[in-house]
Subunit: 99 residues, 2 copies
């Protein structure tokens, strides 16, 4: 993954919003309460909130995952996505000193 692709992943309003939402899963996705939030939030919940099609949201999550900002866990027929805070810390450092 090249530097520029990291920034491309963040160059979209919806993707930035998804990352924000995932900071507070319980508050932003109360409908998923029954399943808990240990593994993050499933695609369907994110899609409903983003108000885009399922395919688009799935692709966006894939882009964020390739860039390292989220990680996914498959549980049955659901795929849960949660933030990978290390990636943000790493990028923060890079911007502070390398760029």
């Amino acid at each position: 993954m090249e530097q520029v692709d990291i920034f491309k992943a963040l160059s979209n309003k919806t993707r930035l919003q998804i990352l924000e939402w995932l900071k507070e899963p319980a508050q932003n996705f109360p409908d998923q309460e029954h399943a808990g939030y240990e593994n993050g939030v499933c695609v369907g919940q994110i899609q409903a909130k983003a108000a885009l099609t399922q395919s688009t949201v799935s692709e966006y999550l894939s882009i964020l995952q390739r860039a390292g900002f989220v990680q996914s866990t498959r549980v049955g027929q659901w795929t849960y996505y949660k933030r990978n805070e290390e990636a943000f810390a790493k990028l923060s450092k890079i911007i502070k000193s390398n760029i």
Copy 2:
């Protein structure tokens, strides 16, 4: 300037490279020695190193400036661009805590 436009400004290899070059003006632009580096580096020097057309480089610098990453100073017929380190520090913090 919206968050997403900050990242769009960084979503291009050449623009990232320009920002890197401007970290060490004397080393990366030795041909400008006579004029000093207090105000940064002039467009022509950056253009030569980037190997893109003058219009493209001028536009790229404008994009970086709108995003706050560089600031310009006009001296005679030259426009000098230098890094604005505050913008990087600010973005670093935002990524660490806000995004």
